[in-house]
Amino acid sequence: MIQKKVCMVGVFGTGKTSLVQQFVQSKFSEKYHSSVGVKIDRKVVDVNGSAVTIVLWDLAGRDEHEDVGASYLRGAHGVIYVADGTRKETCEQIADLRRVATAAAGPVPGLIALNKCDLVGDWKLSQADEEALRANGPVFRTSAKSGQGVEQMFLAMATVLVAPTQGAR
């Protein structure tokens, strides 16, 4: 079976763990748990008739004590960058997180989960800010709480990871 390692990366509290939990278990926890190290989950998805195991590495968020663990990113096939629409600063760090991830994992596919879209009325982003995010990859509006956009985002990543690369034999 095809197996792909996908890392979840972002500032603390953006909802990385909740997105994984919603995708894998269809659950949402009201309580915030700060992650330590890496939590690993896996889910088998169907991509164009092929079973693909996505192994999700949920990395502890960047905070004032710890940076993103570059050693955990090595060997990743794809990276999902998670930002919180209600905290503009989490979006502003995406470009730097992408730089860190690319240095560790190489130029692997990446996409952005712009999370907490159930709170879109509280978002601090302008249309231009959201457009600027797209410079770092495709942007998916997600809500780990309601599930909106979550399945689509992970399936998009799986599809990209198994898509043939032009020139490959």
């Binding site: 330590v36 690993i40 989950d41």
Partner: protein, 271 residues
């Protein structure tokens, strides 16, 4: 001391219980090929077989308050020692694929141990046990956790809990049905929603990289009922050896009341 890690463990029946339902193991896992003689000039192929040693650390806390709990934790620990030593056969050379397979094998070993515990009961209700297992291949610790025993680590003077208790109280807090304060007072803190041998067994898999100076602690809830995180951090930060840390924490648990069996395993990273 084993391969740059100073490890020590201890268990105590406590002051209120008649028997000890906790079990632990600390084991080194090595390649089995022992080259005695060869005509080969290039022996580099054998270097990897002498390569890094893996460590297996396990704490299990039997559930049930009877002999069944003791048997459950004993069975789980024995089964894991057997299955993990097989799974760890490739531990010296991890590429991405091998590491994913290794993680799946560790989880598979826990599932097999779960089946072994369930088989104890034959046609009766099976006993159950918690499990916190760390397979350590420097600098990475692979953690599989079920129940409410804990793994914590001290890094840069800061104590972090690596596991989450799989209790009904925690589940209620997650669902927003109880506040943390209400949960702490609730009898649901003693009820596990997931354990080896139980109807529900939900292994949680994670990993963390260590650096010299870090300290890893595995413990049964007989420690955390009586010793708070601040004191645990103080002991891990100030005592000079894994043995001294372990003995101090067990002594603190007993001094705090010793209402449950207490088991502590400490691994101190020395580089």
């Amino acid at each position: 001391m084993q391969g740059g890690i100073d490890v020590y463990g201890a268990t105590d029946v406590g002051l209120k219980r008649d028997n000890n339902e906790d079990h632990f193991i600390i084991a080194g896992i090595r390649k089995s090929l022992d080259l005695r003689q060869t005509s080969l000039v290039d022996r580099s192929a054998f270097d990897a077989l002498r390569g890094p040693e893996a460590q297996l650390l396990v704490v299990a806390d039997g559930v049930g308050g009877n002999v069944g709990g003791e048997r459950a934790s004993e069975t789980a620990v024995q089964a894991l020692a057997e299955y993990v030593s097989r799974a760890a056969g490739c531990f010296s050379r991890f590429d991405t694929e091998a590491e994913q397979d290794f993680l799946a094998d560790l989880e598979g070993a826990v599932r097999k141990a779960h089946e072994r515990v369930r088989a104890i009961a034959e046609d009766r209700t099976p006993p159950a046990t918690t499990l916190t297992m760390v397979t350590f291949v420097w600098p990475r610790a692979y953690i599989v956790h079920v129940g409410d025993s804990r793994a914590m680590y001290l890094h840069n003077g800061r104590l972090r809990v690596l596991t989450r208790d799989q209790t009904m109280a925690e589940a209620m807090v997650d669902a927003g049905a109880l506040t943390e304060e209400q949960a702490a007072r609730s009898s649901l803190t003693n009820r596990l929603y997931s354990a080896l041998g139980a109807d529900e067994m939900v292994p949680v898999v994670g990993l963390v990289d260590f650096v010299p100076g870090d300290v890893l602690l595995l413990c049964s809830d007989g420690l955390t009922k009586h010793v708070n995180d601040q004191r645990i951090a103080e002991v891990l930060a100030t005592f000079g050896s894994a043995e001294a840390m372990t003995k101090a924490l067990v002594a603190d648990a007993l001094a705090g009341g010793g209402t449950d069996n207490v088991t502590v395993v400490v691994a101190r990273m020395v580089g």
